[in-house]
Amino acid sequence: MMEITGTGIGQGVAVGPVVRMAERLPEPVDRPSHLDPEREGERARGSLSVVAAELANRGAKAGGAAKDVLEAQAMMAEDPSIIDEVTKLLATGKTAERAVYEAFAAYRDLLVGMGGYMGERAADLDDISQRVIAHLLKLPAPGVPNPGHPFVLVARDLAPADTAMLDLDQVLGLVTVGGGPTSHTAILAREKAIVAVVGAADATALADGDTVVVDAAAGLVVSTPTPEQLADANARIAERAALQAAPVTPGALADGTPVPLLVNLGSAEGAVEALRLGAEGVGLFRTEFLFLDHNTAPSVRDQQEHYTKLLRAFAGKKVVVRVLDAGADKPLSFLNAAHEENPALGLRGIRALRHSEVILREQLTALAAADAATDAEVWVMAPMVATVEEARYFSALAKELGMRVAGVMVETPSAALIADRVLAACDFASIGTNDLTQYTMAADRLLGTVANLQDPWHPAVLRLVGDVGAAGAELGKPVGICGEAAADPLLAVVLVGLGATSLSMSPSALADVRASLARYSPDDAKALARAALAAEGAAEAKRAAEAAASEITASRATAS
């Protein structure tokens, strides 16, 4: 038995055999071949055509968009230009491995130089090159394995291209050596509700075929588990399956106090799945995707069309739309082209929109028109608000352009500290816990070296949430939470104890949070919040809340 620690994503458990993702091959050494060019040519052409057939075959199996990509890759593997180039290189006495490597690298550099869409295809060429070289060397192909049975994938880290190729029906769990809670693997795991432990440095010791228990809730991977550990894991898997299958009810505490469970969406696409999982509305609709990939802002008509599609799906429900949140990690050239030393502290969110007010006006106009044409209850909010004056400006503009309810995101400590005055200037607040944590702890959320500080359990962050909750209760205005914090089942109870009136999360977290809320009364939630607030740090706050929670559960067991 060996325990490997990492960062768990979600609350799931998985048991299964390890399949390791083969590591990338090193660059083939440039040494003279001991075979003649004709013989090397046969080897190269043979491997190129095997890889092409393999890719075409996978494409036929995959279907859809993946089929086109794989078929294009198959053609690239047998491309006459590549074969010409390889033949030329072989004539100079190189090995087949080296010639293939150089031929693909030349086209790769060409595509990278073209930038944009073509630049992104460079990774496809790298992938083909690696496959062909692996075939020449009789090594397993690098990339996502397909063993033909359910497995736990162990990888250094997953690239977006790998995750696109992953057959999710076969993946029981994911373990990565690298990556943090915001890595691509973690995002995928959250989105698709895959049991995952990331940043598990010691996972390099796992071998193909080892049976492991992946315990995301505990951030633990157990190899060669004892029979007791296996039985416990299987019991938890069954328990969670029952939980996921439980009837979808509105979010509420044990006494029936409603806590609406909303979802975070990045486009209208996820609406059907979110509703199936019991979303009572949308707590954060991100609108960036409409603007990223564009050199200019999309037209009012295009925007209106997309908003209408989303609002139709949520007829009769609340939809909170966040206006364009550009800057920092998602810069938009037409909004802010200036280079900034500290983009997280720069011209972003409402600051950037104010600077280009026409974009904000167009977005609000499109939203108001979509609102008028549909039956959803549309609220609009501004990101990165730091002052009362910004809240007042946004609220006035939104009302002027026809929106009925306008609020602000609380992501800066300043907005939280004077939440009473900020809330007096608008209709509601929604706390963005990711940014609020980053700004409270003064730790860049994109920087791995300070990732340990990016923990919403920190009492300093919780105290700010409590201040906003108290201000909301005083003024009778809603205070929602939208951020990863709301997806943590126990932290969700603490946030409600601190005064949150609704919680918004990834759709995959709804069932866990719903079940957790139903275990506690409003007084219990307040007791958990008090315990966490009084702690020294994030880890201590979590432990204190866990202790308070088990005390409540235990006393209830004695009473009944």
Binding site: D68, V69, E71, A72, M75, M76, D79, P80, S81, I82, Y107, L110, L111, M114, Y117, M118, R121, D124
Partner: protein, 78 residues
């Protein structure tokens, strides 16, 4: 030699997917076809890499054969 000039229909130019359809059609025709953009070098139309590496944009003009004209003028991004 037969020569034709055509304006590219695909919204994002001749990227991987339309380039794939085009080179597949060329390969299926069994004849040797060259393509070139206005002022660019002539490249083997059966090579998907050579075709996409030309970075042909929407609206660019290029010389090709009749039977392939329709493929190129269709917007495959619809």
């Amino acid at each position: 030699m037969v020569e034709r000039t055509v304006r590219i229909g695909s919204t994002h130019g001749l990227h991987a997917r339309p380039a794939k359809l085009f080179t597949q059609a060329v390969a299926a025709s069994g004849t040797r076809v060259m393509v070139q953009t206005t002022g660019g070098p002539a490249v083997n139309a059966a090579s998907i890499l050579a075709v996409i590496a030309q970075g042909i944009d929407h609206g660019d003009e290029r010389a090709v054969l009749d039977e392939l004209v329709e493929l190129l003028s269709t917007d495959h991004d619809e």
